[in-house]
């Protein structure tokens, strides 16, 4: 693919991805932290022990720091004195398309950017952050996986990585309105909250929207959806292109500004949350005129304010999978436990939970990348082992990708454990009929 890209000089209007463009992207990305991280790696291998892809395959090529080899080579060659000397004397190893092709599965298929490696690194190297940087060069050199390319194209062109359009959501809205007897507010200027969804929720978990409608009606929260932007997932972040990411973030900002909302709620999708909350202002280069929350944060605030009145308790033995983007990368750990306490009397945490939890294996674009299917299921074995340790009746989570992966994984390994969304569970326990 890259071969043709390099040779397509006949059509000047069609920009082309090339090795050189990829290297340029890396030159842009290399900064002081990158240099510090590469020079301080002590090759202890702890990151390998923290990575589900390594732990479950045992293949040393899945050692997280090793996945950064192409970027490290460029840094050494062009940004260090020793590397420059080595290059001049002909001792440096080449960075060519063959290398990038070999590394593509390492950077995309076997990394969910869950950040566990960054957390355990004894010298504080943020490996996950550098994977994100390395992906910039991979896209620009034409070495991104097809699944993610297609998702990015659809996200930009249709507004959703799964190709969903407003009319599909509209059908779901009608269902929700019929089922709940409530009205789903659309394009309400001046609402307190703009609610964003992920395509996965619209298609796989429509009960989420219904739950929100119920809870917000119960707590008298003023909210709205926007016809101009309903999707918060960001394929640009996953594929590793800040340009694509910026287009998608800008769409959210425009919609929120147009409606004049004070707050934006990210959907129950892990990377959408970190994408819009943490990475967004950086890719568009300015601060937002509104705040961004995950729905779980909003619900916990409502709980703390006494605006969630629930009745009845779940008696099943319940456990929870913390999405890494939420717990490890954003520190949302206690909120979901407060909410659990509200409705579950038999809750048990996995041994490693909160910021130490093991990734489900599907995030960071792995689930959009068909080639990675087998690895994704391999990585899930770590989660499976965690689940088996405590044998819950049901699992609760708050990320559509995690939830899909948990459901698929449990089915694959024939474990009969249902997975539920926390928001829906809260909605089921609301005290009905009385005004708050």
């Amino acid at each position: 693919m890259s071969e043709t890209a390099i040779n397509s000089t006949t059509e000047p209007t069609v920009a082309s991805f090339s090795l050189e463009r990829g290297l340029q992207a890396w030159r842009e990305e290399i900064d002081a932290p990158t240099a510090a991280f590469f020079s301080s790696c002590v090759h202890c291998g702890l990151c390998a022990q923290a990575c589900p892809f390594f732990v479950e395959t045992g293949d040393p090529k899945y050692t997280p720091i090793h996945k950064l080899e192409p970027l490290r080579r460029l840094w050494e060659r062009e940004f260090t004195l020793w590397g420059k000397l080595k290059t001049r004397l002909g001792f440096s190893q080449p960075i060519d398309d063959a290398l990038l092709e070999e590394w593509e599965p390492l950077l995309y298929d076997s990394c969910s950017m869950c950040g566990r490696c960054s957390m355990v690194c004894p010298v504080g190297n943020d490996i996950q952050y550098m994977i994100r940087k390395t992906r910039e060069g991979m896209v620009a050199s034409g070495h991104a996986p097809e699944g993610l390319i297609a998702a990015s194209v659809r996200a930009v062109n249709t507004g959703s990585p799964m190709g969903l359009q407003w009319k599909t959501l509209d059908v779901q809205i009608k269902h929700v309105e019929t089922a709940s007897g409530l009205t789903v507010p659309i394009d309400q200027a001046g609402a307190d909250y703009l609610v964003l969804l992920s395509s996965m929720e619209i298609i796989n978990f429509p009960e989420y929207l219904e739950a929100i409608a119920k809870i917000f009606d119960h707590a008298e929260v003023s909210w709205t959806l926007s016809q101009e932007c309903f999707e918060a997932t960001n394929a640009g972040v996953q594929i590793g292109s800040k340009d694509i990411a910026a287009v998608l973030v800008q769409r959210v900002v425009d919609a929120a500004v147009k409606l004049g909302v004070k707050n934006v709620i990210s959907p129950e999708c892990g990377h959408a949350y970190t994408g819009i909350r943490w990475e967004g202002p950086n890719v568009i280069g300015r601060a937002y005129p509104f705040k961004v929350f995950h729905i779980i944060e909003v619900l916990d605030q409502l709980r703390a304010d006494g605006r969630l009145r629930t009745e009845g308790m779940e008696t099943d033995r319940l456990s929870m999978h913390d999405p890494c983007n939420l717990a490890r990368k954003s520190g949302v750990i206690e909120q979901q436990r407060h909410l659990m306490k509200l409705v579950a009397e038999n809750f048990i945490d996995m041994k490693e939970h909160g910021k130490y939890q093991w990734c489900c294996g599907a995030g960071g674009g792995v689930s959009s990348n068909e080639r990675a299917e087998e690895l994704k299921m391999a990585a899930f074995r770590r989660k499976k082992a965690q689940i088996e340790e405590i044998r819950p009746d049901r699992l609760v989570t708050m990320c559509a990708t995690c939830r899909t992966q948990l459901e698929e994984g449990l089915e694959e390994y024939t474990m009969d454990i249902p997975v539920v969304g926390l928001t829906e569970m809260i909605a089921e326990h609301l005290v009905e009929g009385e005004p708050s």
């Binding site: 842009e28 702890l46 004195l81 004894p122 390319i149």
Partner: protein
Amino acid sequence: MHDRPTLGETLERQGVSRRGFLKFCVTTASLLALPPTAATAIAEALGQARRPSVIWLSFQECTGCTESLTRSFAPTLENLILETISLDYHHTLQAAAGEAAERAREEAMHANEGQYLVVVDGSLPGPGANPGYSTIAGISNLQMLEETLAGAAAVVAVGSCAAFGGLPMADPNPTGAVPVSKVVRDKPVINVSGCPPLPMVITGVLAHYLTFGRLPELDEYGRPLAFFGQSIHDRCYRRPFYDKGLFAETFDDEGAKKGWCLYRLGCKGPMAYNACATMKWNGGTSWPIESGHPCLGCSEPDFWDAGGFYRALSVPTGDIATTAAVGGLLGAAAGGAAVVKTRRAKADAISAHRPITAEELEQQL
């Protein structure tokens, strides 16, 4: 001796999983800067090892070293080690007192003749000093050390007092204090200095000894190189400010607030060799420089008498200074040129950036 359970068995009984144990071994290997494969060796050796007997002697000290080891956060390496060694004598930690305590020490010495480890914290009044300055059960420190050493395999001097004399030996040294190494002649001594030493350094040394049956590689002061191989300065997160020449001049000026280098406030980071900068304290929470105080160089010999704590390190005088200055200038010029060049490469890349578009991506499908 052989009816003692192995470490593996002891850990299992205490509910430490195989996984937890392996994690400990991997961490230890990495702390000791051994290759990852060494983790397996450590695991095998520790799993098989009989609980070794350790006699811990405390002389002229403040118990800070014991505190450092025991106040670390559970469940950590330190606890693992404390639970796996057979700590047969330790003033602060043992329940026994008086004659019973001394008997425990003697019994441990006889039962493990030639194999036990002696850990010492605190310095002791030297051979020429009045032994009455520090005695335990009527026995002078020197006598107790010599007695205990006779059948020991090796001595670990924990803390700067035991390693280098520390505070008791500070000028004018009223008790005639000497470090352990001054008294020991025919046994290997390892100095784990620091006031107090990092708990992970203490356990790392013990784990190394248990695994390989010998002490780790040492520097010229008898300290394990793995932990004392690099200066605080080289690993300091404030180093970029030093390199840029940005210094805090007082404890409450703008520079201090901005987290600039504390060199001029007396930081001994450049001459202090220890692992605080990377391992930190209190379960990785912070370390002196991070809380705004210059490094005292507590792991270095005679740190109490090495000029004022708040006086900047002196600059060499005479020819050395000229040479260093010229060399420094040349180095700075070359380094500066290299920085300018790489910065330009980055700036060029940024200005040449062609945004990636969906259309372009679509071409690839």
